[in-house]
């Protein structure tokens, strides 16, 4: 039972790392602050929760697993709220949407 759980946990951790890397690529490549925020926070919340759930078999005992579950629940509630606050601040400051320029697709 436990080696199977650890194997699944390892897969989950690697999936989480992949999603976090995808979020960082989104932050680098998207053209506008709103799209960067969207791609970054969606993928990063998913990746963080995958890593935390995948780390639960490795945590050693029920106390560590509960603590990881608590961090995951807190992430699920707080990370979207922080992104909402940043997006609303950008909107209030009237940061204009930049039109996507086809010739400058490779602009980092």
């Amino acid at each position: 039972m436990t080696p199977l759980l650890r194997f699944l946990g390892g897969i989950s951790i690697f999936a989480g790392v992949f999603f976090s890397f995808a979020a960082v690529v989104a932050i680098l490549r998207f053209p506008d602050v709103y799209t960067r925020l969207h791609g970054g926070t969606k993928a990063l919340s998913g990746g963080a929760i995958l890593i935390l759930l995948g780390a639960m078999p490795y945590a050693g005992g029920i106390a560590g697993a509960l603590k990881l579950f608590l961090i995951a629940v807190f992430f699920l509630v707080s990370n979207p709220m922080a992104s909402h606050a940043i997006a609303r601040a950008c909107h209030r400051r009237a940061l204009a949407n930049r039109p996507i320029d086809e010739k400058r697709r490779g602009d980092v």
């Binding site: 951790i13 790392v17 979020a23 970054g40 780390a55 050693g60 961090i71 609303r88 950008c90």
Partner: protein, 85 residues
């Protein structure tokens, strides 16, 4: 194996920091800093598994709470220019 995941997260952190350096407005840098705080919370969690110190999970939980507070403070400052509006 966890060491490979750790290296993956830290490399992602370095790439996210590129956006902090380049991004033309402070809003881009704020977005990247938000992502970096989540990434480094995960680095702390993976570190607690790697060096088998269970107390680092407390550090990860406290840091996730306080980086959330940090992002709210900086969003408020970016919106109004002052913190007590």
């Amino acid at each position: 194996m966890i060491l490979a995941a750790l290296w993956g997260m830290v490399i992602s952190g370095l790439l996210g920091f590129v956006r902090v350096v380049t991004g033309p407005s402070p809003a881009d840098r704020l977005v990247a800093a938000d992502a970096l705080s989540v990434i480094f919370t995960m680095v702390l969690v993976l570190l607690s598994l790697y060096i088998e110190t269970p107390f680092l999970l407390d550090v990860a939980l406290a840091f996730s709470m306080l980086s959330f507070a940090d992002m709210l403070l900086m969003a408020k400052y970016f919106e109004h220019g002052e913190l007590h509006k």
